[in-house]
Symmetry: C2
Subunit: 195 residues, 2 copies
């Protein structure tokens, strides 16, 4: 998606250690007009799919998922939680993932009553790198016996293995920008061609 690639070039920051900061428009400050264009693009890419629900993970996925739901007939959005709370009672699906950016292990939790067997879901997240967070969501979806119709990712780090492994497992992943390489010294970034 050229619009997103251009925006990453303009407002993203490349740092050492393969860190791409896009907090000016994606995951700290949010550009809602951009999110709408991303949502419209996923609606085009997944037009053939039946989507009953969008599932994402707190916190960065929530805004993107809610705006995107408008392009899928206002389907419900369920966001997995990363901390237990006294408000989270009843039966839960729980998985566990390791975050490199937070540098710790944390749970991924969805209340069982918000994923019903037989539902068709679209997973949405802001980043795909090694795929850890997505694997947590996929694990929960499998336990819930919902069908994952597709996975919409804003930015995929194509040089990390997450996307490749998940595609090999048969998941239909549509990343709106796939980073081929980044150079923190030059501040340059190259993208792979998208659909």
């Amino acid at each position: 998606m050229k619009l997103l690639e251009d925006r990453i070039r303009r407002d993203g920051t490349i740092k050492a250690g393969n860190v791409l900061k896009v907090d000016a428009f994606l995951n700290h400050q949010c550009d809602v007009a951009l999110f709408n264009q991303m949502g419209a693009e996923w609606a085009r890419l997944f037009a053939e799919r039946q989507i009953d629900k969008i599932v994402t993970i707190e916190a960065s996925g929530i805004g993107i998922a809610c705006i995107t739901a408008q392009h899928f007939g206002n389907v419900p959005v369920v966001f997995a939680k990363k901390t237990q709370s006294i408000n989270l009672d009843g039966d839960q699906y729980v998985s566990s993932i390791y975050s490199f950016t937070k540098q710790r292990e944390y749970p991924v939790i969805v209340a069982k009553r918000f994923l019903s067997p037989g539902e068709h879901v679209l997973l949405i997240d802001d980043f795909l790198a090694n795929g850890n967070a997505l694997h947590g969501l996929i694990d929960i979806c499998q336990h819930a016996q919902v069908t994952i119709e597709g996975i919409g990712i804003a930015i995929e780090k194509g040089f990390q293995e997450g996307g490749q492994k998940l595609r090999a497992e048969g998941y239909d992943i549509k990343s709106l920008a796939i980073v081929k390489s980044m150079d923190p010294e030059q501040g340059s970034i190259e993208f792979e061609p998208c659909e």
Copy 2:
């Protein structure tokens, strides 16, 4: 807002300890059509105000804030973070709040470059009870020297002191549903009249 009150009566659950669970439509599963009607209502209530930016706090505020931004001319949404991350570098505004639902103290963090002195902001959150979370956001806004034009709350617990204290401090709070009393045994709930 009658629509929200009706929805709370229909899909909310009242539990002992003054807990009102609205995770079926507000803060675990999200009803985006409802969020749009809430956003339109805040746009009506704050029509006289200049709003340059919406500020909220992860995680439950993000979806509501992003949908609401569409009703304020797609202004940027900034969400305060509750955990440090290697992606959060540079100068930050940091405050600290205590969460009764999480039963621990946690930081509230906003990168300095996303709040500029002189900006006019609208704060949005899903709940207002004792006002702890809001005080963290207000503290950050004061340090950032931005003007808080108003505070939009989905559900205020009118029997707790947060709203009363903040209104006494001069803040223009528009809560879309103000709970007067709840009875977990009867499952009944009463609301105060809203504007």
